[in-house]
Symmetry: C2
DNA sequence: CTAATTATTTAGCTTTAGCTAGAATTTAAT
DNA sequence: ATTAAATTCTAGCTAAAGCTAAATAATTAG
């Protein structure tokens, strides 16, 4: 079964929206996630339903099928492997990789994916700390909490970010809060939810609640 | 000015056909080069004319413009750089790279091309021995002749092949006639145009005229 | 130099993926 | 429980890129 590039993008968006908590994924949600109009989404949902990658009943909602799940994870796997390639091998900054990976993920060649995976040494996480599914779609994800939810004196390691906008990633780079950095919460301000943290045992930085909410920590 | 993937493919085909000798490129030639129908070609030529990458007068013929040339060479550059990547880094066999490179060449990102070029150490030739244009479209090509045209006792180095079909490339692999191999013509049979050559000073092989015609040699 | 053949182009259809405008359905609010 | 609002879907249009069939131009042959 073959999906077009557009279909892959829809399926990926649906998968991500399904993961991110809520009940069921709405037509409007997909439209805004994918930067298109609800009418176009309706139409595509019908097609994806026919291809049996989702189960779709109009006005009701949708659900990804096991087949759809597998295909979505394949695309996500490719996207994240390419991100690792771009950062590790071509020295892209982590805020420059998204658009390019968005194109590369649609290249069709199982051999290419296998070889790339091997070449990168079978990475388990992408540069943003998100897990890379294996060829069967299995994901080993680490339990992690938002920095905002940590208590005073708790420490851990930055493993991922929720927001991947270039502006946010550049900000993190500037303050030295890269993936893998070891941090410790020194203080929390009740009033505005901001936190003071120690990065890599040397630098003390101050973070607003909004920022701290978008940084995921593997506690230790 | 932006070209679609289809437009890039047509332009590339036109460029290659222009190079390969003849007078002017025909609609039929393009159709068979690109595996499509003449009617579709006519239509695309009109569009490429409007975009000013070719000069086109119907029934008369076409000519690539300097702009078209630049764009075609950019695509060829990307194709060949990716081929180097696939062979050198991902250990693809040289007969496995074409289809994948055909997809990768359409990825849009100047940063990516620059970084890839640097990562591969600014290669000047692809795995088939074809020259890789630089970012300005300049090509340093070496003067070379078909193995078939060499005289007895003349020697040189295999630098390219004209035919890149998997069948041909596999045949070459089998007999050990890879790019870079040093060869010497031991004998030529007038009757059928076949040649006997010594490869890398150790193996003697026998080649039909057809094969020898498709192997390009840098004489020494 | 017509006539036949071949090459090329045009017209009109198909599919994919978007869009707008308007209809239908569900949800919310008085 | 109706109406109002929001959501979702349908119909019909557009653009790209292909196709077939038919028309037109160029070339070759007798």
């Amino acid at each position: 079964m073959e999906l077009t590039t557009a279909e892959e993008n829809y399926l990926k968006a649906i998968y991500h929206l399904s993961e991110e908590g809520q009940k069921s994924v709405s037509t409007n949600d997909i439209a805004s996630a994918i930067q298109t109009k609800p009418a176009s989404v309706s139409d595509m949902l019908r097609k994806l339903g026919e291809k049996e990658v989702i189960q779709y009943r109009k006005y009701y909602g949708l659900q990804i099928t096991p087949l759809g799940m597998r295909l979505a994870l394949q695309t996500i796997r490719k996207h994240r492997l390419w991100e690792v390639f771009l950062v590790d091998k071509l020295h892209f900054a982590w805020d420059e990789v998204h658009e390019v990976a968005e194109q590369l993920e649609h290249i069709q060649s199982t051999l290419l994916v296998e070889r790339l995976d091997a070449y990168l040494n079978y990475p388990k996480f992408d540069p943003h700390g998100d897990p890379i599914p294996d060829e069967f779609g299995d994901v080993r994800s680490r339990p992690r909490i938002a920095l905002q939810e940590m208590g005073i004196d708790q420490s851990g390691q930055i493993v991922a970010v929720k927001d991947s906008s270039p502006a946010f990633l550049r900000y993190l780079d500037k303050v030295g809060a890269y993936i893998g950095a070891r941090i410790k919460v020194l203080d929390k301000v009740e009033f505005d939810g901001s936190v003071e943290i120690l990065v890599d045992q040397k630098k003390t930085i101050f973070m607003s609640k909004d920022v701290a909410n978008n940084i995921l920590i593997l506690t230790s």
